[in-house]
């Protein structure tokens, strides 16, 4: 199967190649968007074969800085570098790195006002001066309709061009139990890696939490035999607090180091912000349907 593209009915574009799914939207001058999309599509079809060349190395734990041939692989390594004291492989930033690589084609066009590339929840943004995006957050996909979900705005003046969400329910496996950790950072790759690490840190031990070795669930996973979360039953309120505290602590450290701008953690109906500044970003919550 070769890469495929489709324009969705609402005007956004869907690019798909193997495991990569992108939803692309852009506002601005039509011909500029067309140019950016064309360039983006050409580059898109090259990325997967490039990454496959180095896949075996990218699945190894990151310990030292080594040069990678693929520009996307270099983005992955760079984004994971601040986390190397713990177990991390460059794959933790693969989705965000692909989004970052492609958003540059939209940044290069002065006539494009804003653009976003959503790679399975890891989002790269382009905002021309004065522009903003309203972002919706869903922490409980299962009960999507009965959402107690949040909305916030990212404007061009903020140092945020990447949004990523991680959690045990998502497509990637997590060592932690967070329903969701949403991270804002200067690029999608940094947000992606940080969200993974913070979600891993949202953790406690309890019998209602089921775990299994990663390689018993998925072939060729970079997490090898590490225990990943497969189910989280109801756990006591005190433990929820402690798990969130563990994650928030890690997020605060990353925020102090300048790796991320802000993070929002949720677990079983409770949530924690790592940066009070995020409160100011919150728009009134949409009424539940």
């Amino acid at each position: 199967m070769q890469p495929q593209q489709q324009q969705l009915l609402d005007g956004r574009w869907h690019f798909q190649y193997g495991p990569i799914d992108l939803i692309i939207s852009a506002d601005g001058e039509r011909s500029a968007i067309d140019r950016a999309l064309s360039a983006c599509w050409t580059r898109f079809s090259q990325i997967l074969p490039e990454l496959v060349e180095e896949l075996h190395v990218l699945r190894q734990p990151l310990k030292q800085m080594t040069w990678r041939a693929s520009p996307v692989a270099r983005r992955m390594v760079r984004a994971c570098w601040p986390h190397r004291a713990q177990f991390i492989t460059p794959m933790a930033a693969v989705a965000g790195s692909v989004a970052d690589e492609l958003i540059d084609f939209f940044v290069a066009e002065p006539e494009i006002k804003r653009a976003s590339i959503n790679n399975g929840g890891d989002i790269a943004l382009h905002l021309a001066p004065g522009q903003s995006y309203a972002v919706g957050r869903v922490s409980d996909i299962v009960n999507f309709a009965a959402e107690s979900q949040g909305r916030f705005a990212i404007d061009a003046a903020m140092p945020v061009r990447g949004i990523a969400t991680s959690g045990w329910r998502g497509r990637s496996m997590s060592l932690g139990i967070a329903d969701s950790v949403t991270v804002l950072a200067d690029c999608a790759a940094s947000a992606d890696a940080a969200a993974t690490m913070i979600a891993n840190a949202v953790n406690v031990q309890h019998e209602a939490i089921q775990r299994a070795p990663a390689n018993s669930l998925k072939d060729d996973t970079d997490l090898v035999e590490q225990l990943v979360t497969t189910a989280v039953g109801a756990i006591p309120a005190g433990l929820i607090q402690r798990a969130l505290e563990n994650g928030a602590c890690h997020a605060q450290q990353l925020q102090d180091e300048g790796v991320i701008s802000a993070a929002w953690l949720t677990l079983q109906g409770q949530h924690r912000f790592v940066d009070k500044a995020l409160d100011a970003l919150m728009l009134p919550s949409r009424q539940a349907a």
Binding site: P3, Q4, Q7, G18, P19, L48, R171, D220
Partner: protein, 500 residues
């Protein structure tokens, strides 16, 4: 579940296959590229990642899984449903493809129709040889025949023949997709995909107009939305309405870029025994009461470039004309009309139109149908795609020609051209939304289904071992149902092929 890679598709193997079918050992799964792959794994070749997937698990994309040793697609498939029954039809939309095609098509679905076992072979075809034939309902001049049509600066098609009340365009095609520059191919592919997916497309005709075309919508010519088709040419309009005008007028001129009609000289007027008005027209007289080229083509009255209708009248011959004569001038759509009375010098003077005459002009308007752009997808399925259906491709072609096999595209009835091959044409409005995709070749991806009796399928060498009951497909595959929205399309299973 679907066997997507039951055969190793290395080139060597393909050569052997063509010569001696029966001697080929068909591997249950493709031979692993790595010698030390575990026995309970299969290698997925759907993308360059080449995941080795253990039984019961899915690959990195979560689109393909190893189900009991068979590579299985888990993407949703589009099913068509109807209000009036519980019938389901599996479309090729989302079916994927098994290119290279000697692998059986992704879905072969059996169902029962009036007690007869039917099978539908469902696939998505990758079409290089394909184009759109677009009919623009308009009398306006869009551009010269054979003129190039551009989209985002690239040549993507050409103006073809003018037809009754409409102009035909040919868009896309293999020479633009793969015969020109890379950019031409990419732009053509994007234009085709948008057009097929019922989206608006901007076109520029060299030496002609700017056009916005969208299937089922009024075409927009130089920024002006087309409203109505003409009721007929000027001469035909005279013929249709002569009796209704009779007694209320002394002369009628129906202005038309093709044939302008003049009532008193026209056969219709002669049969009503109307006296000649003595009107002297510009242009070239064809037969009595019919004039070619009274003006240049344009955006004015009746598809000409005139704004003042009197510009096409040279004068009145005093031998026949007399003061007080009543003259109606109208266009072929009734969008333009004017009423004149001749003064003492036999000069036409504008006057207010009597209601009896106005009523007939209104009737011209009423008889002009709304202008639409209709978009037909034309593609050749006569090539390698057939091998996914049967071992001997020509049998599939023949079975269609013999009205044994019905061809549909996304469930929409496909017209099959006469002559060799399987060249089909289908109205995109009858297809489910978002039926078209593309691959970077560039080429267009479109759904195609072949439906026939199960016993006929066996006789033409079909991949019988891959046929699954409809219920099994619906239960095993992720799907999304699409309502059968086009009421006047026949249900695919009830149809004989539309043969040329």
């Amino acid at each position: 579940m679907t066997a997507h890679n039951r055969v190793d598709h290395s080139a060597d193997n393909a050569d052997e296959l063509s010569s001696a079918q029966s001697e080929v050992r068909v591997l249950d799964k493709s031979r692993p590229r790595s010698e030390n792959m575990a026995a309970n794994k299969i290698e997925c070749n759907a993308c360059p990642v080449l995941c080795q997937i253990t039984e019961g698990r899915s690959g990195a994309c979560d689109r393909y899984a190893n189900v009991q040793g068979v590579l299985t697609r888990v993407d949703p498939l589009v099913l068509l449903t109807r209000d009036t029954s519980t019938e389901l039809f599996v479309t090729g939309v989302g079916a994927g493809t098994t290119y290279p095609d000697y692998k059986p098509a992704p879905f072969m679905v059996s169902s029962t129709l009036n007690g007869v076992d039917m099978v539908t072979v469902v696939t998505e075809g990758i079409f290089s040889y394909c184009s759109f034939k677009v009919k623009i309902d308009t009398d306006r001049y869009l551009g010269p025949e054979r003129a190039s049509i551009r989209h985002r600066g690239e040549v993507v098609g050409h103006v073809t023949t003018a037809e009754y009340g409409s102009q035909m365009l040919s868009l896309g095609g293999v020479h633009h997709l793969t015969g020109g520059s890379k950019k031409e191919g990419r732009v053509t592919c994007e234009m085709m995909m948008a057009l097929g997916n019922k989206q608006a497309v901007e076109l520029e005709i060299e030496g002609g107009v700017q056009l916005i075309v969208q299937a089922g919508r009024a075409p927009i010519v130089d920024g002006v939305e087309e409203k109505r088709m003409r009721v007929g040419c000027g001469s035909a309009t005279i013929g249709i309405f002569a009796k209704q005008w009779f007694g209320h007028v002394d002369e009628v001129v129906v202005v038309d870029d093709h044939i302008t009609g003049v009532l008193s000289e026209h056969q219709a007027g002669r049969c009503l025994d109307m006296p000649l008005s003595g009107i002297k027209m510009k242009g070239r007289k064809s037969t009595p009461g019919r004039y070619f080229q009274v003006a240049n083509p344009g955006q004015g009255w009746g598809g000409t470039d005139i704004a003042d209708p009197l510009d096409i009248i040279e004068g009145f011959d005093a031998e026949h004309a007399r003061p007080g004569m009543r003259l109606l001038m109208t266009s072929t759509t009734g969008e333009h009309s004017a009423w004149f009375v001749l003064d003492e010098q036999l000069q036409p003077v504008p006057a207010s139109m009597p209601s009896a005459v106005q009523k007939v002009v209104d009737r011209i308007v009423e008889n002009c149908e709304p202008s639409l752009a209709s978009v037909l997808f034309l593609a050749g399925a006569g090539g390698s795609l057939r091998a996914g259906v049967t071992d001997n491709p020509v049998w599939l072609t023949n079975s269609i020609k013999q009205a044994i096999t019905h061809v549909s595209c996304g469930g929409a009835p496909a017209y099959v051209w006469a002559g060799g091959g399987i060249t089909v044409m289908v109205d995109v409005l009858r297809m489910p939304d978002q039926s078209f995709g593309s691959v970077p070749t560039p080429a267009i991806v479109a759904p195609i289904e072949f439906t026939l009796r199960l016993d006929d399928y066996a006789r033409l060498g079909g991949h019988l071992d891959c046929v699954r009951p409809l219920e099994a497909v619906v239960n095993a595959e992720r799907d999304r149902s699409v309502h059968w929205a086009v009421d006047d399309s026949q249900w695919p299973l009830h149809q004989k092929p539309m043969l040329g």
